[in-house]
Symmetry: C2
Amino acid sequence: MKLEEAIKSNKFKNETQKAALNVLYTAWWLKTNMSKGLKEFGITHEQYNVLRILKGKYPDQICVRDIACRMIEKNSNVPRIVDRLEIKKLVKRTTSQLDKRETVISLTQAGILILEASTKSIDHTMETVTILTEMESVQLNKLLEKLRSSEE
Amino acid sequence: MKLEEAIKSNKFKNETQKAALNVLYTAWWLKTNMSKGLKEFGITHEQYNVLRILKGKYPDQICVRDIACRMIEKNSNVPRIVDRLEIKKLVKRTTSQLDKRETVISLTQAGILILEASTKSIDHTMETVTILTEMESVQLNKLLEKLRSSEE
DNA sequence: AAATAATACGTGTATATACATATAAATTAA
DNA sequence: TTAATTTATATGTATATACACGTATTATTT
């Protein structure tokens, strides 16, 4: 669906403003599609991201701060997301002995199983849903990083 | 900042997976930048969107459902966003006389003023922050719509 | 060493998303 | 016309974002 149809408007100041809205809409669309597949595993998109970050370091442990700085949405309240994963017994919290301020999080066996199953589902969704060739994706990545190039 | 730095990872399955994450990160980045400017006006990004939709139809009124289908994030709980705008006296709720199920929302004078001031701020932010030429934006819009082209 | 500052995490609050359900009004079917 | 269905909105609950603040622990300064 074209952006104009999706938000029932074609009043854009210019193509750049339209592109910004298009990025916001596409992000919502991607998140929605990803979340659909995760539902059967009883986890949310954000919980999946935390599990994936833990997997990236597995079997090493990783503290809350290190998870936070790897999240796509930088204001994620990681302790609270970990709360929910802990209730489901997908992760375990331990106070670091090297620095007792730190809480280290580790995947449980159940967490690994859920992550593997849900990754299959997510990957399949992304492949069937994200219709871009490798070259188009390279181009899209370039444009998005150019868009953000004002960043300090 | 490159995506790799932003999420401290360079393990992408392929450019398409990276592009999807890049869209998600860029959307968060855009929202964060927009929200900064709105803070001085005491409204959130989502409240701003509702005001902008109302302005698009002003002085005509518009019902909750019509606002909802124009929102970028389609699962927005519009009645609740309107609640907050109503408390700040930026909008007014009236039951439609043609169809008493409908609640029609209209901008107040205060709402118009806030919208105009915040629009200036938002537009300025977007111009200084979104670094793309008109042609690059056209290209980006094309790629995003191609990405979503699996949509029913 | 004691005082101060910085850091890591948890928690509280307001607002939002996501989704289910309730309620009232309008439409359609019987 | 009554009953059933659909529609529009509001409301409830769980989770998330955004941000402020408290507390414990570590690091730094005096």
